[in-house]
Amino acid sequence: MSAIALEVRDVIKTFETDTGSINAVDQVSFSVSHGEFVALVGPSGSGKTTMLSILAALLTPTSGQVLIDGQDLARMGEAQRVALRREKIGFTFQSNNLIPFLSALENVEFMLRLNQRFDKSGKLRAAELLSRLGLGERLNNLPNQMSGGQQQRVAIARALIHSPTLVLADEPTASLDTERAFQVVQTFAALIHENQRAGIMVTHDLRMVQYTDRVLQMRDGKLVKIYSDKQEILALAKGE
């Protein structure tokens, strides 16, 4: 492991409801290094999606700090947060991942266009990355001409193509069959490690954590346990 890519310090996110205040994220602290792939797990309502939204600069924490490459999200204006999402974060979502009127290649290239880094070599890299993900013959297919698994792989390529510091994945296997789900997460993990990105995957499917380096378990907004030992992680993945 190398330098810290993401640091979360005492983050609290409070929501006001009719029945009072609820801490969806409560005093959470952790860090992720470059080249590290971390799973964020927990039951429904544990706060993992809220945590992911904060890390993605889509939600502002009530208190605490989130630093990406040393830059504090709390000190940023909206325009800076948009720029940060564009330059330093790669994102895959549960569904509706791709822009429907762009082909697989164009979806990946779009991140380069957004970052004003689209050129011939970028186009070549996008095609190579998709080929590496087994989509070499699907470059010109539109999302509705691809299966759910293929779409997720395009989304992974899009999340990585612009060399972001942090790659976030929200339930990337939710709409996939078991075999495809394992393939997608395995490929995702390999690319995170190979490209030295910091990766965080939110999942409710504990079987998928076997490909991660660390598992952060949340419950009621709190970070209740961290699994760092590979044997422990494998045991968790097997449901032991």
């Binding site: 999606t49 992911l52 939204s53 993605a56 889509l58 939600l59 325009a79 948009v82 720029a83 940060l84 999402r85 564009r86 330059e87 974060i89 994102f91 979502f93 509706n96 991942n97 791709l98 822009i99 429907p100 009127f101 762009l102 164009e106 991140m111 266009r113 957004l114 970052n115 004003q116 539109l142 899009r158 929200d170």
Partner: protein, 387 residues
């Protein structure tokens, strides 16, 4: 600048990849364009047919009988008034205009209804010649005819035409030789034929009481001022010097043509409501489209597309679809106009058509404004159902 090129890329890609759907929207806009351009052309055509002769006369002022309320057919003047008008300071020339309706007999028992106008050659009110010559004398049975008469019949320069005129209780027929042609001289929706005043008095339709009248009746007198810039002063001079008259400038005379203002108002209201319906239809379509695209816009924003990119993309898309629709509509209008008979008063005036096209190009972005505002306010968290 880069945001604009990115927005253009997104907008055009989406239009191209969904060209069937967007083409249908363009067709709707094309139909609205067709309607608006036809209404504009109809308005212009109706207006032209009403005012064409008056708007082209070689004068700045029109003299009416007092209390005629600037209505040509209600005004009756005489030679004494004409002579008095010609003596007023600042009047360079004055010409009488006598107007009546008649019909030219055509082969196969058909008739062509025309306005019969009595004018003095070389005086204000006489038409500008397109071909041929003017009347040789004040009594010569000669006529100058509007090009529309030639377009709607087989009559040619040099031919003799027969007009039918009801005088008293009998139909009388008079031959007139076509010695000259003019163009664009419609008067009260009918093409005009011009004759000398005394000929006009002989051949015009008359009531029983008017049968023995030989002095040409005059409806109005058209006045050309020595200095057109001083027309207002000449108007004052006329009112001060000549009894029992009222004087109007050309625009006032046109606006007082019976039904003219109401007709133009009706056509303009139709055009306005057609544009309004266009705004609502286009606005509704793009709003529905934006609602369908909420998750897609959410993804765009989540991965770092800024609001200017999202907003500009929507505006460019609406503008492109509108421009295509207006182009198709313009082409359709042109093709349809080729098939319309000359009796339908359509006039594709450059200025009014350009104004209509500019308004049509504006209705797309205007109609889509609400959807653009909606698009830039979409929150990625809610759009992606992460909240």
């Amino acid at each position: 600048m880069y945001s604009l090129s990115l927005a253009t890329y997104l907008a055009l890609k989406e239009v191209w990849r969904n060209r069937g759907r967007f083409f249908l929207v363009s067709l709707v806009i094309a139909l609205i364009t067709l309607l608006v351009l036809f209404i504009a052309a109809l308005g212009e055509g109706l207006g032209t047919n009403n005012r064409e002769y008056i708007s082209k006369v070689d004068g700045q002022l029109v003299v009416f009988l007092e209390k005629a309320d600037y209505i040509i057919s209600a005004s009756r003047l005489n030679q004494t008034t004409l002579r008095a008008v010609r003596r007023v300071q600042g009047v360079e020339a004055a010409g009488p205009l006598s107007a009546a309706n008649t019909a030219i007999l055509l082969p196969e028992q058909k008739v062509l209804k025309v306005s019969l106008l009595g004018v003095e050659a070389g005086r204000p009110g006489a038409p500008q010649l397109q071909a041929g010559r003017t009347f040789l004398s004040a009594t010569a049975r000669e006529a100058i005819v509007d090009q529309r008469v030639l377009d709607r019949s087989d009559i040619q320069l040099g031919d003799t035409i027969t007009i039918r005129s009801t005088q008293g209780t009998d139909d009388q027929f008079y031959d007139l030789k076509v010695v000259g042609t003019t163009s664009g001289q419609a008067f009260f929706f009918q093409p005009s034929i011009f004759v000398a005043p005394s000929v006009w008095e002989q051949v015009r339709p008359k009531s029983e009481a008017e049968l023995n009248n030989t002095t040409p009746a005059i409806n109005i007198i058209i006045v050309r001022a020595s200095d057109p810039a001083q027309a207002a002063q000449v108007q004052e001079n006329l009112l001060a010097s000549v009894n029992n008259i009222e004087v109007a400038d050309i625009p006032t005379t046109i606006n007082n043509i019976p039904g003219y203002s109401a007709q133009q108002g009706t056509v303009q209201t139709q055009g306005f409501f057609t544009l309004l319906i266009g705004v609502l239809v286009i606005g509704g379509f793009f709003q529905i489209q934006i609602l369908q695209k909420v998750p897609q816009i959410g993804v765009l924003k989540a991965i770092g597309a800024s609001n200017p990119v999202v907003g500009a993309s929507a505006i460019i898309q609406i503008s492109v679809v509108t421009a295509i629709g207006v182009a198709i509509g313009g082409l359709l209008t042109y093709l349809f106009s080729l098939g319309f008979p000359p009796t339908v008063p359509l006039a594709f005036d450059g200025k009014s058509s350009a104004f209509a096209i500019a308004a049509l190009l504006a209705i797309g972005p205007l109609g889509g404004l609400v959807s653009v505002f909606y698009a830039v306010r979409i929150e990625p968290l809610k759009a992606l159902r992460l909240s």
